[in-house]
Subunit: 325 residues, 2 copies
């Protein structure tokens, strides 16, 4: 295999998060499913924002958070995602580039603004999200090049990309290019409702195209429409080469052929906001993986990064993750 320039290239929705505190009654009033991601149009985003309390804006996006985490560990990374040429787009581009990530997707010069995810953090530290996809709908296969995908050891894709229609084509093209180049493809299932929207296609992807699968318990049981984690685990075994399955406070399970590792979560003094927990688990895992570490150690690195991100508000690390090693 040729030398690689990047450890991981991530492709995902390029989003700025707006984080605020709310209670369960607020979620009910706005018909938001607690703990999930609901797609909302611009009008609904405006109504929700108007009713929300004061916010904090931070770059987000699932795969982008993972790439930010990988860069924070010291990995060489690139990101593909579509912002608009507006102030929030500038924020997104600045934040990811300031971590040393290669980000060269041209911003859209017309159409809707940079995507926003309105995140309500409830007193139990759970996060509930309303996403206005904005400029993400402009991402297309033209934004995915052979040069970039071929330069990365792992291409990391988020399931959320199946929501904006042309991004799905970018996603499929990235898989084809990665495999043509002898590279690996990783997928995160993103969200249980997202899995519900695209179940058959995701099942086919997992069975046929994905080398490394990331999923949490709700996503995996939704994928196979089973009630128990263990049933989902049996269903996924052998379907893809490697699966890392996260279970919140119960830790994670890593599967590879006959190999099974049950990994504990890392200790956290006080869980403040679970936003980004899965994204940062994937960052830690892939950091270890691209350095050839044993799978159990990859899982522990995932737990470590997830523990950092849930100890404060926001989905990106507050301290350089290499300082935790």
């Amino acid at each position: 295999m040729p030398e690689h320039r990047f450890d991981v290239v991530g492709i995902g929705n390029a989003i700025v998060d707006v984080l605020s505190h709310a209670d369960d009654a607020f979620l009910d009033r706005h018909r938001l499913a607690k703990g999930a991601m609901t797609l909302i149009d611009n009008a609904r985003a405006r109504a929700l924002y108007r009713d929300m309390g004061p916010g904090v804006e931070m770059s987000g996006g699932s795969a982008a958070n993972t790439i930010a985490g990988l860069a924070s560990f010291g990995a060489a990374c690139a990101f593909v995602g579509k912002v608009r040429d507006d102030q929030l787009g500038e924020v997104f581009a600045h934040d990811i580039r300031s971590l040393g990530v290669h980000f060269a997707t041209p911003p859209a010069s017309d159409g809707p603004g940079t995507a926003r995810c309105l995140i309500l953090v409830t007193p139990d530290a759970q996060r509930t999200m309303g996403t206005f996809l904005g400029a993400c709908v402009e991402l297309g296969p033209e934004d995915v090049t052979q040069e970039l995908i071929g330069a990365a050891r792992v291409t990391y894709l988020e399931g959320y990309l199946w929501d904006p229609p042309r991004a799905k084509d970018a996603f499929r093209r990235a898989i084809a290019l990665a495999h043509d180049a002898g590279r690996e493809v990783a997928l995160t299932l993103s969200d249980a409702f997202c899995v519900g929207r695209w179940r058959a296609e995701f099942q086919a992807l997992v069975a046929g195209e994905v080398d490394i699968l990331f999923a949490n318990e709700a996503e995996l049981t939704s994928l196979y429409q089973v009630a128990r984690f263990d049933d989902a685990l049996q269903a996924v075994r052998g379907k893809c080469r490697l699966a890392a399955l996260t279970r919140s406070e119960k830790g994670s399970v890593v599967l590879s052929g006959e190999e099974v590792h049950v990994i504990d979560r890392a200790p956290v003094a006080h869980v403040v906001d679970t936003t980004g927990a899965g994204d940062l688990y994937a960052a830690g895992f892939l950091y270890g993986y691209t350095r050839g570490r044993p799978l159990a150690e990859c899982g522990r690195l995932g737990s470590l990064a997830a523990a950092e991100v849930i100890s404060h508000l926001g989905a990106r690390p507050e301290v350089p993750l290499d300082s935790l090693l």
Copy 2:
């Protein structure tokens, strides 16, 4: 005196903060005076932002932070300040309105964008600021109405308003309207360098126009060009009816005629970021003051609010301040 609709109306620069971590060497490279506010033009703001690490965006502005704090305590407040009709302007307007603050200054529809303050927090929790005033230069006397100023018991002004030229006219008009209506005027000196730029005018204001003065030690010693806090204290005694002088970890001193109170700071487990400490002290003080509390209690309320805001990143309270009472 007629009934008042607002406890306090604040007038100040309407700014979105971009907070990031940096070390002292970074401040030196960018010629930023540690702990101070440096005015920067758009080109310098772009260069500084390009070199900064990932940021967190939050509404800021000195007087606006004070008004947000007052609203968080439960006071009835209004704010006057100029944003542009852009995404950051929308963030600023949303955040202050979501606290119940009356904010009706029309945004600028052309010219520079909403003001940004690039805030570098060093490992010692000190903050150093580079401010691009942007749309704040559009604030003028036409934005200050008799109806609004006459409706507030206290008009609170920030010294920073002397930097954008037309804002100074708005400032002077607000003082005249407040006194015509039999209302009180409060001023914060804002920053030692700002005092250096406008020393003679600030001395005249304090001696002739201001009812309630807020200043920290560096600002006050700069105002009277003396070396010691006590010398500055003797200089200001009797110049304005009431002065609340803050001294970081040494607490504050409240002066009113012959009355002098020496107030301790409130305990803080871990000082994370001093951004907003003075602004929130003023919020707590004015909350007590507009409720007719004894001056020592006003000072203690100031200490309480300042302690909350320095315990986390950002210049606005993270918890409702009335929950601390």
